[in-house]
Amino acid sequence: MLKLESINVRFGGLAALQDVSLLVDSEDMVGLVGPNGAGKTTLFNVISGLVRPTGGRVLFNNIDVLRKPLYARARMGIGRTFQIPQPMHELTVRENLLVAQRFGTGSVNQSKIDEILDFVRLSDKSDRNAATELALTELKALEVAKALAIQPKLLLLDEVLSGLETAGKRQFMQMLSDLHWRFDVGILIIEHDIETISSVCKRVCVLNFGKLIADGTADAVFKDPEVIKSYTGESGA
């Protein structure tokens, strides 16, 4: 479904991504890990359209989307969350989802919105102001809900678990593993914590200094000496 072909991104003289190639299928739930500054979020920005790469191609269902703007990619079915939640200001939780659904899919379906709200456990918060009246866990849930409202085929989740305490985290992880089959969506998820990721994803990719250094089953990847090295900080961090 998603095919990245040797993506390169440079910010000034700094190579943020180098020759990153990646395939994600609609049945996949892929973990994307790596130390801080490895280029994970930049990769998400390239896929969703916030950053234009200096080289390479992004194919989504065999269509080259590089020249397509942000909103057009969303309508094609690329949904994403932000690491720091970005609720739509001045709107309630439900209105956030309504706008996402109306513009992301072209039509409004209230029962679908109820279903999503129920799934992310925000049903009783639906009339709250999204920007000012939600706790962090709820904001993170809203991020996921907004992305779901556009009926995505591919979901990019950027550290949805970071900053949550243990109870919230466990609840969220349960939600994530259901997400995949409940909404029939391929998932690429960024996560800092290796244990979390290996419990949710079968397949894991590792980025380090903008390069993809490993791609395989969680077990195999975390035994890879180069990956271990990047995490223990001999070359990275």
């Binding site: 703007p69 969303a74 309508r75 200001h89 209105e95």
Partner: protein
């Protein structure tokens, strides 16, 4: 706008005012001029509130609407009402020229549009073959007489402009409560978040620019047929931007009533008080109002009063 609020407004505007002052040409002409400003103020506020854009160039739309309608009615014998509609459409088309400026944010947009407004004025001056240049267009047909009622009279023009302004207010309201309105509201503080869920923010902003330009063009056209004479200095005067802007900042651009109340209030103040006290250079007071309002109550007077009112009501309850 709530119904219980709307009915009294309609009653005052269509019954009480014509009944009380319908025969007084002085009061009526003041009200016509005030509602002309109110119409532009509403269009300006729509762009500022929904589109998030502060424009210094609404005089361009006002002038284009005035010129197009006047020239079409004179040269092609178009009925005046059709001419007014074309004036609005023409202003919206003219705003296409401003689309590149939508790529700019905040102050860049505001000033680029100011530059555009100057272009239109120069064009009106220079294309003498079409616009008569600096000499201006005279003998612009007046508003028609329909079923024995003369709409070119002060009272008639008052009813026309008030109806137009109320229609615009209604449209503004409908846009605001629609999904488009919600998306536009969301774009202010979280543009990226809005775009990644499929909102084409540039298109939405462009639509607000068209709507705002259309409204301003219509009002400009009505004004041209009301005073029957225009020249570039008058039709494209920066005052057509300044006064509505002061009105909106005065009344508050977040609410529907703000621009209207602000326009009538500030226009009356300017005409009856500032002009009488100061004479030449009375615009200094408008500048002062603008500065003071932005400094002390950037959301305008109407929200300020609204808050006080709510607090009093809460205290009573």
């Amino acid at each position: 706008m709530k119904i219980r609020f709307l009915l009294p407004v309609l009653a005052v505007v269509y019954l009480a005012i014509p009944y009380l002052w319908g025969g007084n040409n002085y009061v009526m002409s003041l009200l016509v001029a005030a509602f002309i400003i109110a119409g532009v103020a509403l269009a300006w506020a729509l762009l500022a509130n929904l589109g998030g854009m502060v424009s210094f160039g609404h005089s361009a739309f006002f002038g284009v609407g005035a010129y197009l309608s006047a020239l079409l009615c004179i040269n092609y014998r178009l009925p005046v009402l059709a001419g007014i509609l074309m004036g609005g459409i023409g202003a919206a088309v003219a705003s296409i020229a401003m689309l590149p400026a939508l790529r700019l944010r905040g102050p860049y947009f505001a000033l680029a549009v100011l530059a555009y407004a100057n272009i239109f004025k120069i064009l009106a001056m220079e294309f003498k073959g079409i616009t008569e240049g600096a000499a201006g267009v005279t003998n612009i047909p007046a508003l028609p007489t329909v079923m024995g009622f003369d709409f070119s009279s002060k009272l008639g023009t008052y009813l026309v402009i008030v109806t137009i302004v109320l229609l615009f207010t209604g449209s503004y309201h409908l846009i605001r409560v629609s999904h488009y309105g919600a998306a536009l509201k969301a774009m202010h503080d979280s543009e990226d978040a809005t775009r990644v869920v499929g909102v084409n923010s540039t298109l939405l902003k462009a639509m607000m620019l068209f709507v705002s330009a259309f409204m301003t063009g219509v009002v400009g056209a009505v004004n041209a047929h009301y005073i029957n004479f225009i020249d570039p200095d008058y039709a494209f005067d920066l005052g057509w931007t300044l006064l509505p802007m002061v009105a909106v900042v005065f009344g508050g651009y977040r609410t529907l009533m703000g621009p209207l109340v602000g326009a009538v209030g500030i226009f009356m103040l300017d005409q009856l008080v500032f002009k009488a006290l100061i004479g030449t250079g009375h615009q200094i007071m408008l500048g002062a109002v603008l500065a003071v309002m932005v400094l002390f109550s950037p959301d305008g007077l109407v929200p300020l009063i609204g808050d006080k009112w709510k607090r009093i009501r809460r205290a009573q309850a």
